[in-house]
């Protein structure tokens, strides 16, 4: 009887453990798969080509820089939009808005977060890009800026909802204490509440960045997909192509095992590394703060 229970227990423990470890296993296997398929590209294409600024696979130009540059400029633009709007709305929702406004707005923000990116791509193609073309008198509305605005829109709900949770977790007593010594509402938010929620707010930003950099469908639809290396802020107003869009657009047509095929996987590795760096930076920041808090508490 006892033995049975022990075996039962250890079986359950084993099961739960393996579900826990499976996440690590999956990440590891994906990475190995990417490496196996992507690394041959480095042998077949010399590095000088990979670091050139021309992407024209049909004639064996495999310069990754325009794609990396395209992803970065769009993500940067998206961050510039998503961070102020996202943190601003989070502050409004958690600190300023009356309860009913908050109860009304939160579901809408969550719906916005759950919107399929294809739908946003539609809006971008049919409404935003013609609008931008007329407004800024551009030759085409399918630009990095269009992509940035939409990606910003995609990242905002993530930023809002995580940042709002973080702000909400700041004890009400901090606010009371700050107000009671004559600080204004704004001083309290800026000097007490936001700093106290700092690590959560940073996590929100990082998650938003992760969401933006991995997004494929929307950017494919609205950025024009011209693999031109962006060289400055002016290139926000010209078409670019991202890494994700390149993989999505070309993977279906490429001959398995060809050089082009391996290079696409190499792009996958680069994306993987970028998101790894973003995640590690985020957790390092949060971890450092935890350490500090623990030190303070002990």
């Amino acid at each position: 009887m006892d033995k049975n229970i022990t075996r039962h227990e250890s079986l359950i423990t084993f099961f739960i453990k393996s579900t826990g470890y499976s996440a690590i296993v999956f990440v590891g296997m994906i990475f190995i798969f990417l490496l196996l398929e992507g690394l041959p590209a480095i042998q077949k294409v010399n590095l000088a080509t990979l670091f050139s600024s021309r992407w024209y696979p049909i004639e064996d130009y495999f310069g990754l820089l325009p794609l990396i540059g395209g992803s970065l400029i769009i993500t940067l633009g998206a961050i510039l939009i998503a961070v102020p709007f996202g943190i601003g709305s989070a502050v409004y929702l958690s600190e300023i808005a009356p309860r009913w406004v908050r109860d009304l707005m939160k579901p809408f923000i969550e719906i916005l977060g759950g919107l399929p990116s294809v739908v946003l791509g539609f809006l971008g193609m049919l409404i935003l890009s013609p609008f931008l073309r007329k407004l800024l008198e551009l030759p085409t509305g399918l630009t990095a800026l269009t992509g940035s605005i939409l990606l910003g829109g995609i990242a905002i709900p993530t930023v809002v909802s995580v940042a709002e949770d973080a702000l909400d977790a700041v004890p009400k007593s901090f606010r009371d204490a700050s107000l009671a010594i004559g600080a204004t509402e704004w001083q309290t938010i800026w000097r007490v509440t936001l700093p106290a929620a700092r690590s959560g707010v940073l996590t929100a930003i990082m998650l938003g960045v992760g969401r933006a950099i991995g997004e494929t469908m929307t950017v494919m639809m609205v950025t024009g997909n011209a693999p031109i290396l962006p060289k400055g802020i002016n290139d926000l107003f010209s078409p670019v192509r991202t890494m994700t869009a390149t993989i999505a657009a070309e993977m279906g047509e490429v001959a398995s095992g060809s050089v082009h095929y391996h290079v696409l996987f190499l792009i996958g590795i680069v994306l993987f590394l970028i998101s790894l760096i973003v995640n590690i930076t985020a957790s390092a920041v949060v971890f450092r703060q935890k350490k500090r808090q623990e030190r303070i508490l002990s």
């Binding site: 901090f174 009371d176 204490a177 009671a180 010594i181 700093p195 303070i296």
Partner: protein
């Protein structure tokens, strides 16, 4: 003239609970006025009206007058920020802000727009002295305030209020989380402070009320039952309910 004059004041929260009913109370300057009574009697509500911190709560109905130096603080024209600098508050649980000890003290002055660094630095030492905390923290002013013990944190909160040189200090059960020794220190500081300030205290026990009160007001379920000097209130109260409470028959 009395420092604060509460006239026929009533207050009702949006969930229908009536917190205060027709309160009239005169609070003299340079004394410790104690508001005591069982939980839910409206002591904290009354305290939070005096610095308008109750603005943040869901108050549906409020009537009557509260005068500070003859001026109605409930009027729409009142500068709430200025009022809160004049009427400082210490909470039940010590709430140190997530800064260093020094920054906790300078925060109030900085948000008030004080630029004179001599004055700011002077007030750090001065306020810590008044709160009887200076000797314990003078060598580690830049340590995080959260590292202090509970009693020290509470005295830091008191010092933070004093740094603004207010006229009135509100204390909402300031010693409820403290050990007897720390409690003693806080009470001792208060006795010293009343020469310069008007102090209104919600004590956490009848014993503390009796120890500290110059003037005592007994609040029961939103009603002001009795007001008397500390000596009378705790030895020979007029009202039967006060007597029952003071002698520990309920509450």
């Amino acid at each position: 003239m009395n420092k604060i004059s509460i006239q026929n004041f009533s207050l009702q929260y949006s969930d229908g609970t009536e917190s205060l009913r027709n309160i009239s109370l005169e609070i003299p300057a340079n004394q410790i006025t104690v508001l005591f009574g069982p939980a839910g009697g409206g002591k904290s509500s009354l305290l939070r009206v005096l610095n308008r911190l109750n603005d943040l709560a869901d108050v549906t109905h409020q009537e009557g007058k509260v005068l500070l130096d003859g001026e109605d603080i409930l009027s729409l024209k009142t500068d709430v920020i200025a009022l809160r600098r004049k009427v400082g508050m210490v909470f039940a649980r010590p709430v140190v802000l997530p800064f260093s000890i020094r920054e906790n003290l300078t925060y109030g002055l900085e948000v008030a727009g004080e630029k004179d660094s001599d004055r700011i630095n002077g007030s750090v030492e001065n306020s810590l002295q008044q709160a009887a905390l200076w000797d314990e923290v003078k060598d580690r002013l830049d340590d995080p305030a959260i590292a202090l013990s509970g009693g020290q944190q509470q005295r830091l909160c008191l010092a933070r209020v004093l740094a603004l040189e207010p006229e009135v200090i509100l204390l909402d059960e300031p010693t409820s989380g403290l050990d007897p020794i720390s409690t003693g220190k806080v009470e001792e500081s208060l006795q010293g402070l009343k020469q310069d300030y008007t102090i209104i205290l919600v004590p956490h026990s009848v014993q503390q009320a009796a120890r500290t009160a110059d003037l005592a007001a007994f609040l029961l379920q939103g009603e002001l039952v009795e007001v008397a000097s500390g000596d009378t209130m705790f030895t020979n109260p007029r009202d039967q309910r006060t007597q029952d409470y003071v002698q520990g028959r309920f509450g």
